[in-house]
Symmetry: C2
Subunit: 376 residues, 2 copies
């Protein structure tokens, strides 16, 4: 190795390689998928077309992508031996614990290295199918069979609720899935690429990614935004509630992001989408709380560039679509399976084992074990 | 961020932090656990004492560690709702696919952040218990109940085979588990630390680690060493077989390691252990093949520092202990649960999100979607 090693605990000043999938412009508030600004295309582009864009590098020839639509539709029917594992899970697990085991259970030896698009279609298609199956079973409800004739977002709502979803709910969820489909080199995508770098398979790597997304510092807890809005209750209580909360040095959920030093572009679009699906009183509450929070935070920390993050209006949109709070982060994972697949394909195309070093600061070698060793 | 970012695709020249758990001296052929050279203490130190050393930082007051022995023994009895998931897995899965789902299934919502030693004892105790349960079921054999009166290595053999293990087999397996218990910042440990860095839980992080260990570049395939020895068959055929293999530019398994530029210390100790358990003809074959391979490799690549790696005599030892080949890498994971726990505890004690950057090289922003967007 030439030169001194580079010390970086959070790796924030390390570039682990090149990617042509998405660009996060933290200073300018950009999120670009293969050259397309998400603010220009969402809402309006079906999730199938975003999957096409991320996996093939180009937009499909029609909206929604016919190839991807066909692939995802056909793969919604899951082999019964995998359904049996899902049906053996204890009910009432935190959904991300259930989803981690569900993703792992998808891997039954058929997925080798290198990853393929077809494997990715399995992952993308089956994650919401099995999640919905588990959630219904946990609620004591019968499983709803998937429908190959529905789009990805519509089928997810259909399988969760067992009723034909409203088109404005489908469109809003589709916008959410589009916006959360990829986000540069975040921690879960990084974990996935580390797994692929050992020539592990896509399902293993996606399980590693989900295990990493589970941490609240990454996957977050948009449900806490909903809890916060509930606790505040009405716009006129926002300012006082926030003042007290900050005085107790407690966190306000939905503000600040390591990447963005300005408005998160996804949040801007989600705010627009929220107008189509949120209860008007709820939206008014969210807007009042956002304004009070930003005013208070900027007064408390004048230098810090604090903005609303993606979690804030994610919560309002997903509430509006009718999702229960415990499904907010699992639904983030449902969206991200597209980006994970794209990154697995890209990593495997020009692979190198990712194995950093560590500085050993323990006792120097030469310690003597305190008792005679049992020989054999 | 001050200064230009540091570009490193494999992260080999990046130091991600400090650790006092183990030191890998690649140039000198050292592996040190908290100051103890593994060559000085293995074989002879029970696995329970290595677990104590790694998790508490100091040797226990007696061998085997009474605290750890009690904790592991008590935790071998697994809640029936987890056994049900394991029993719902399809039989005949590649054992690492099964083990990934088994590890994930251990996480039933009871494990929050930060990780604790108690959670680690669950992970360490239950991994071999559930693996053995699955393996027996796959073979059509009835499950064998764990025994709290046996040591960790002995109980694993007991649960796999259903008969009291020979003491030389227990001692050899214990030596193997000791030597594989930790190894600095390898790829699976790194994946685990990335997961913990998002404040995910120990079981999630261990699942991410196993998903990463599954890749042959990291977890390897010591079973391929056994297959190679079978294919060669007798010492007199070694030289010719290896010459032909190298002429076809094919890999010889069990040689070369990214970290070590000299003999792998674990390999040296495993070679000694092999003398106690391997069939003498098999050992003679392995030694002849090793010598021929090293001679041929060094002749073929005069500059390269190529040595026998840990996989080579791992295979001979695990064969001697009676393990089927498909259990070689899963048994590596059984050993590594100790190191994973130690690293999870250390990471959480001084945590920071690990999130590197990536250079975007895709199309510049500003592309226009080819069709009018469907409004809503």
């Amino acid at each position: 190795m030439a030169g001194a090693p580079h010390l970086s605990k959070g790796l924030d000043d390390v570039v682990v390689g090149r990617s042509s999938i998405s660009w996060v412009g933290g200073e300018t508030g950009d999120l670009v998928y293969r050259g397309f600004d998400v603010r220009d295309i969402v809402p309006g582009v079906p999730y199938e077309s975003i999957v096409h864009l991320l996996l093939y590098g180009e937009p499909p020839s029609a909206d929604p992508s016919r190839e991807v639509g066909r692939e995802l539709g056909a793969r919604r029917s899951v082999p019964p031996e995998i359904e049996r594992v899902v049906d053996a899970l204890p009910t009432g697990l935190p959904p991300l614990d259930a989803l981690r085991t569900i993703l792992s259970a998808l891997g039954t030896g058929a997925y080798g290295y290198p990853p393929t698009r077809e494997q990715g279609f399995d992952l993308i298609a089956r994650t919401p199918v099995l999640l919905a199956r588990y959630v219904r079973r946990s609620r004591g409800a019968a499983a709803v069979a998937p429908r190959a004739d529905l789009g990805h977002a519509a089928n997810y709502l259909w399988m969760l609720f067992g009723t034909a979803p409203e088109s404005r709910h489908v469109a809003a969820l589709e916008g959410y899935l589009d916006l959360l489909a990829d986000h540069g080199m975040n921690a879960s995508t990084f974990a996935l690429r580390v797994a692929i770098s050992t020539q592990s398979d896509l399902i293993s790597a996606a399980t590693a990614a989900l295990a990493t997304l589970k941490g609240p510092v990454h996957g977050g807890a948009p449900s806490r935004v909903s809890d916060m809005l509930d606790a505040i209750g009405s716009p006129d209580r926002a300012e006082g509630w926030i003042r007290e909360r900050l005085a107790r040095k407690e966190v306000l959920y939905g503000f600040g992001h390591r990447a963005y030093k300005t408005d998160d572009p996804r949040g801007i679009v989600l705010h627009r989408i929220a107008r189509d699906v949120a209860d008007p009183h709820r939206l008014a509450l969210a807007e009042a709380v956002e304004q009070s929070a930003l005013d208070a935070l900027r007064k408390a920390k004048p230098g810090a560039r604090l903005f609303t993050n993606v979690e804030y209006y994610s919560a309002v949109v997903l509430e509006g679509v009718g999702l229960p709070r415990e499904l907010f982060t699992p639904t983030f994972a449902v969206a991200r399976t597209a980006g994970w697949t794209a990154h697995a394909l890209e990593q495997s195309a020009d692979n190198r084992l990712m194995r950093p070093d560590v500085e050993y600061v323990g006792p120097p070698k030469g310690r003597v074990w305190p008792r005679p060793l049992s020989g054999h």
